[in-house]
Structure formats: structure tokens, C-alpha cells
């Protein structure tokens, strides 16, 4: 069979052009970037908003304290003194509430009324001896501020801690001085950097080692998932609308499928580049060292597995599209196959701690697992270049094999809508095109 790259390119171009001209595509490009932007910036934006809300305040927050000695309240107030309004007044104003001859219950009832009438902002009730086993109940209305009570509590805690330490005859200053931690640094020695002190990299913990691997695998997953859906939809649409008759009268099934897979690979790369680009820009702008988090060489190797893995999965999906009668039929199978991509993540502890164990190396050669397993192994330890090349080539080989099989299924299954073929029929279809020699030369 003659397969012309020119024809593959034409099919790929049409797919790319059709997809990037849709509004949905713009959304897939922009939405993840917008989401990432929001997730990264929202907390700091929220912080700023809260601060600006505080800054417009001109009066202190009035907080009545019931059941605590005035001297402790004074010290508590002094611990909160660093929080000030723009006009110089303290943010929190604590004041003791006690009236001789009036019971605590009445005071609490009274305080509650004051808060409801907005004369006070909140009140605190101390039960028992706060320096022993006592407790503090804090009452406020909604809108007081979610973070503020914690600040108020911290103030009281440090007062109580001082009192307790002094009661036992300790100097609080000295205690905090003596109980501070030590300074501990971990370094990783590599062949290249052993001689130069500056080149030594700081070794991160397990979570940090595996994070770039997982981020990359997840991106691969989303990419494969979204584009493979478009791929299957395209193949099924051509089958049901019979456009395929015109295509097959002009192109070989291999050209059609290879063109589609290539087209969606390029669409995927565009999406990937936009996501990664936006991610890097956002992270860099926040002072996050991206190249330290994902080393460029690792990223390069990852791209190899992204490509070969993507081609393999897309080829499998093309075969599914060729087999099924309509889109809904394909969804279940599609789900199961996409799961294969993330399945190795469940065992990532093994891959990270034993990256060069023979079993792990063996699993790296199973094409459907290669991309994920290698993406994780490569972050955990240096993997010999030959092994990277061999696993990548192996995956590529299976991708080409898969496309060839898919083309044969496509050739026969293309005009058969309705019943899904059973395994016997599939096998016949795959062998079938061997005998057709009249047209293809």
C-alpha cells in the first residue's frame, strides 16, 4: 500500500483547521489558563480585598470580655496592639464587662443585646480559670471576619502561656530561645556537579520529587482525554454521514487515520504549549522557580514520552472509532483505556523509591504504561539514555502497529454501521485487507 505523507498532511491540516475554528477550542485553551490564574491569584487578591475592607474602617472593633481579670485583659489588648486602623486606632478594643451584684447570665444576656443592636461587635466569655483548665467562648455576628477571631485567640494564648511558665518559675524568653530547632540541609550529589559546590542541588522530599512527574502525567491525561474524544467523534461522524466514501475513494485508510492522529497531536501540542506557557508565566510572576521545579532536561525527555504515548493512545482511539457504530458506544471503552494512562500513578511510591528495580524497568516496556511510568521514574533517578530511547521507540513501534491495525478495521468497518463486530469478525477484518490487492498497489 502506498502511503503518501502529502495526503497524511492534508488530512491533518483539515482536522486542525476544523477544530481550531470552533468556539469550543478557544475555551479549552483559555479555560485551564483562567482556572490556573484564578487558583494562583485568588487568595492574594482576596487578602488584598480583606485588607482594603479593614482600611476603610474608622472605628475599633468593640469586644466585651466577661469573666476575666482586667490586668489579663490589658495584657491581651497589648498583644493585639500591632493591628492598627489607618487612623491609628487599634483594630481590636477589648474591655472588661463586670457589674457588681449582677450575675454572669445577666451580663451575657446584656452583651448579646448589645451585639444585636450593633453597639458592640463581639463578646468573649471566660469560664473557669483560663490559666488552668478554663475555656473562652467567643460570640460574634456573621460578617465579623473569618480570620479575626483566630488572631484574637492567639493574643490570649500567648498571655496564658506566659502566666503558666512564670507560675512554674521559668523565663518565657529563655524557653523560646532554648527550644528552637536546628538548621538541616540536604544535598544531592550528581556526576556532573560533584566538583562544583554551587552546582549541587538541594534535595527535596518525596512529595516534591514526584510533583513534577504527576503534574506532567496529569497534563498528558487531560490532553489525551480531550483530544481523543474529538478524534473518535470525528471518525464516527464521517462514518455516519458517509463522508468517508469520498475520503476512501481518494485516500488509503492508513492515510486517513494517520492524518487524523497527527492532526490531533498538533492540536494537542498547541493546547499543551498554551497551558504550559500560561502556567510558567503565572508561576514565574509569583517568584516561583519553574526550571528548578521541572528541570528542562526532564521536560525534554517528558516531551518524548508525551509524543510517543499520545500517538499510541490516539491510534488505539482511532481503532475504537473505526469499530463502533456511534459515539455513545465508544465512551465506555474510551474511559477504560484512558484510565490505563493514570493507572501506574497508584503505584508511584514503588516507581519513585525503586526506579531501577528490574520489575519497574520491565513495566516501562509495556507500551500503554510507558509514558506514565517513565515520567515518574525520570524524576526519581537518572535513567540511562538508552533506556529512554528504547522505551520511546518501543511505544512508537506499537503506535504505528496500532494505526495499521486500525486502518484495516476502518477499511472494512467503515461502511458498516449498527452492530458492533465480535472478536472473530474483528480478526477477520484485520486479516481481510491482506487479500485485497486490486486497487492498492
Amino acid at each position: 500500500m502506498n502511503t503518501s505523507f502529502q495526503n497524511i498532511r492534508l488530512v491533518a491540516q483539515r482536522e486542525i483547521w476544523t477544530v481550531i475554528n470552533t468556539k469550543g477550542f478557544i475555551l479549552t485553551l483559555v479555560l485551564p489558563a483562567v482556572m490556573f490564574f484564578l487558583v494562583s491569584y485568588l487568595p492574594s487578591i482576596a487578602q488584598k480585598l480583606i485588607l482594603s475592607a479593614e482600611n476603610t474602617r474608622t472605628e475599633s472593633l468593640e469586644i466585651g470580655v466577661i469573666g476575666l481579670e482586667p490586668s489579663i485583659i490589658d495584657e491581651w489588648q497589648s498583644k493585639l496592639q500591632h493591628r492598627k486602623l489607618p487612623n491609628g486606632l487599634p483594630l481590636f478594643s477589648l474591655f472588661p464587662v463586670s457589674v457588681t451584684g449582677v450575675s454572669k447570665d445577666v451580663l451575657i444576656k446584656n452583651a448579646q443585646d448589645k451585639v444585636l443592636k450593633k453597639e458592640w461587635d463581639a463578646y468573649a466569655v471566660i469560664n473557669g480559670d483560663i490559666t488552668q483548665n478554663g475555656q473562652c467562648d467567643f460570640y460574634s455576628m456573621r460578617g465579623f471576619g473569618l480570620e479575626l477571631p483566630r488572631e484574637i485567640m492567639n493574643g490570649l494564648t500567648s498571655v496564658v502561656r506566659r502566666i503558666r511558665l512564670e507560675a512554674k518559675g521559668f523565663d518565657p524568653e529563655m524557653i523560646s530561645q532554648l527550644s528552637r530547632g536546628i538548621s538541616w540541609n540536604e544535598y544531592e550529589i550528581t556526576q556532573e556537579t560533584a566538583s562544583e559546590e554551587a552546582g549541587m542541588k538541594r534535595k527535596a522530599d518525596f512529595g516534591k520529587i514526584i510533583a513534577p512527574g504527576i503534574v506532567c502525567v496529569m497534563m498528558m491525561f487531560f490532553l489525551t482525554f480531550t483530544t481523543s474524544q474529538m478524534l473518535i467523534r470525528g471518525v464516527v461522524e464521517e462514518k455516519t454521514s458517509r463522508v468517508v466514501e469520498i475520503l476512501v475513494s481518494s485516500l488509503s485508510p492508513t492515510e486517513i487515520l494517520a492524518g487524523k492522529v497527527l492532526g490531533f497531536y498538533i492540536i494537542g501540542l498547541i493546547e499543551f504549549a498554551v497551558w504550559v506557557g500560561a502556567g510558567v508565566l503565572i508561576l514565574q510572576s509569583q517568584g516561583f522557580a519553574v526550571s528548578e521545579f521541572v528541570p528542562p532536561l526532564y521536560f525534554l525527555h517528558f516531551l518524548i514520552f508525551l509524543t510517543t504515548g499520545y500517538l499510541l493512545y490516539a491510534s488505539i482511539f482511532a481503532a475504537i472509532g473505526a469499530m463502533v457504530g456511534d459515539e455513545t458506544e465508544s465512551q465506555q471503552t474510551q474511559g477504560i483505556i484512558t484510565m490505563m494512562l493514570v493507572l501506574p500513578l497508584m503505584f508511584n511510591f514503588v516507581f519513585v523509591t525503586q526506579p531501577n528495580w528490574w520489575l519497574v524497568r520491565l513495566i516501562s516496556f509495556i507500551p500503554v504504561f510507558t509514558p506514565t511510568v517513565m515520567a515518574i521514574r525520570m524524576v526519581a533517578a537518572p535513567i540511562p539514555l538508552w533506556e529512554i530511547a528504547l522505551t520511546a521507540l518501543n511505544t512508537l513501534f506499537f503506535a504505528v502497529l496500532c494505526i495499521t491495525i486500525a486502518a484495516r478495521i476502518f477499511r472494512v468497518g467503515i461502511l458498516m454501521t449498527g452492530k458492533r463486530p465480535n472478536l472473530n469478525e474483528l480478526w477477520r477484518w484485520i486479516r481481510y485487507s491482506d487479500r485485497s490487492g486490486i486497487i492498492e498497489t
Binding site: R242, I246, V248, S249, S250, L251, L415, R435, I438, E440
Partner: protein, 302 residues
């Protein structure tokens, strides 16, 4: 006869159905060839084998006596189902189809422009296919088949969805293509179209060739002549003439079928004794007649 296509013992099965059973015939060069038959006769399957979508289980197809040519570039195909990307724009679709058929890049635009005029498309090139009428979509289909100036045109029910003006235009184009040097194969249910266009044809039924040859030879083979008689009087009186059957009788115009034994002068003499005859014309059996007789009334030819 100089054959464009030679089909030799082609058999095709789908699961348990025998779609084509040892089909053999030749398609002469540079003429319009009709592939006729009732629904399910195997016409579309045969056409799909011709263009290489299916491979036959047995037998082979020779094009220009050569099995080793890259056939796809020499064939233009119009499928029965309107197979178009509905969301693509007219121009983009035409450009894509021309490119995959191997039309040189610099020629594509001029061919599209010329083709659009030729098919008399009413509508904009930047319209989406789905915005076009069915008739215009069919015109686009034809244009796609023509863009690369193929040697062989395979058209499956080309007149579907076209209005009479569209049908006439398409017939004109097909004749022009033959003049250019192309061989045109059409399948159709419309017998009068086939009669008008095709020089030779093949009638298939239940996957088998039941008649093949030029239109004239098939008509002669069928043997039975017809007489068209314009008359005044009571047509019941002629029912007893031996060897004559009334096929049609409307507005004082009779269409009579003569069986092999009846002699035309005898019949004319008999007719003039029983009716006031104004005009008699001898006619060959129409394709419709042949089709209905051969395929039988159990099948609906439309």
C-alpha cells in the same frame, strides 16, 4: 470493443448475504454506461468495489487493462448518500477534496471557480454546506467528483434531489465529460434518464447480471415490438386480436405489445377494421418495460 473497465467474475458476500454473484461485464471507453437494477440488486456494492472501498471476495476488476495503476487519482466518485462535511465551508471542502485528489495547488482555485460556474451553483463559497439546499449539495458532490478531471466517473444515483433544471444541467455536464474523454458509469432508478443518456448498460438483479449490452441490442433482444396507435372508437373491440396485448390506453392513444408470432401488417389491418385509426408508429420496448418485465412486479423499481 475498447474497454475502459473489465469486471471479471466478481463475487461479494456480507455475512450471510450474497451481494454479487460472479458478475462479469465490460464498460466501453468514452461513453455513459448505465448500471440498472432494483433496490438491493448490488449496484452500490459493485460501485464501491470499482472505486476500491471494498475488495471482491472473488474475481477482479481491470481498469484500462491495467491492474497496477494508482486508480484513485483517475476515478471521480459521487456516492449515493450525501457524504459531505456539513460544517465545512463550500470553498474549504472543495479545496480539500481537490487537494486529496492530487490537483496541483496552483490550479485548485481556478478549477473551483470554473466548476462552480459549470454546475450553476447558486450560493456563496463561504457558506457552510449545511446551509445549502439538497439540490445544491448534490451539485457540490458532482463538482467534487469532477475537480481532478478524472478518466472515469462513477456516479451513484446522481439525479437524486435535483430539480428538472438541475437534472438537465447534470446530463449536459456528463455528455461534456464524455466529449472530454471520460468514461461515465451511472446507477439510476430513473429508466427514462438511462434511456436518454446511456449507450450501453447492465441490468443486475439479486447480485447477478441479467442483461448487458448496448441499449439497441437489449431492446432487440427483448424482441417484442410495440405499436403506438391514435384512434377513435371503442378500444374493447381490439382485445380479441391474436398476439396483441394492451400495455396502455389513454386519451385515444393505445400502446400495444406484439408477441413474437404477430406480424405487424396483419395487426395493422385488423386494427383498421375495428377502429378509426389516425396514426400508427412502431416503437421499441422502453427500458421501463424491459425492467418491469425482467425484474417482475414483485419488486418496486423506484
Amino acid at each position: 470493443m475498447d474497454a475502459a473497465i473489465q469486471i471479471d467474475g466478481v463475487t461479494k458476500r456480507f455475512r450471510n448475504t450474497l451481494a454479487l454473484d460472479r458478475v462479469s461485464f465490460t464498460v466501453p471507453r468514452q461513453e455513459i454506461f448505465g448500471l440498472l437494477g432494483p433496490n438491493g440488486a448490488g449496484k452500490t456494492t459493485l460501485m464501491r468495489i470499482l472505486i476500491g472501498i471494498f475488495a471482491p471476495d472473488e474475481g477482479c476488476v481491470n481498469v484500462y487493462g491495467d491492474r497496477s495503476i494508482r486508480l484513485k487519482e483517475r476515478i471521480g466518485y459521487l456516492p449515493e448518500d450525501r457524504g459531505l462535511y456539513q460544517k465545512m465551508k463550500v470553498y474549504d471542502l472543495l479545496h480539500y477534496c481537490a487537494a486529496i485528489k492530487g490537483v496541483p495547488r496552483i490550479e485548485i482555485d481556478s478549477r473551483i471557480e470554473e466548476g462552480i460556474k459549470r454546475i450553476e451553483l447558486t450560493g456563496e463559497l463561504n457558506q457552510k454546506i449545511q446551509e445549502l439546499s439538497k439540490g445544491n449539495q448534490q451539485r457540490i458532490q458532482l463538482l467534487i467528483a469532477l475537480l481532478h478531471k478524472p478518466d472515469i466517473l462513477v456516479l451513484d444515483e446522481p439525479f437524486t434531489s435535483l430539480d428538472p433544471i438541475g437534472v438537465d444541467r447534470m446530463k449536459q455536464i456528463l455528455n461534456e465529460e464524455v466529449e472530454r474523454g471520460a468514461t461515465v458509469i451511472i446507477s439510476t432508478h430513473r429508466m427514462e434518464d438511462a434511456e436518454q443518456l446511456c449507450k450501453s448498460l447492465t441490468l443486475i438483479h439479486r447480485g447477478r447480471v441479467i442483461r448487458h449490452g448496448t441499449l439497441n441490442s437489449i431492446q432487440q433482444e427483448e424482441g417484442q415490438d410495440r405499436l403506438i396507435v391514435e384512434y377513435q372508437g371503442d378500444s374493447k373491440s381490439i382485445q380479441s386480436i391474436p398476439g396483441v396485448a394492451i400495455e396502455d390506453n389513454q386519451d385515444h392513444r393505445l400502446r400495444l405489445r406484439l408477441n413474437g408470432d404477430a406480424s405487424i401488417p396483419d395487426v395493422i389491418r385488423e386494427l383498421s377494421t375495428r377502429l378509426d385509426v389516425y396514426n400508427i408508429v412502431k416503437a421499441a420496448p422502453t427500458l421501463h418495460d424491459i425492467f418491469v418485465r425482467l425484474v417482475g412486479n414483485q419488486e418496486d423499481p423506484s
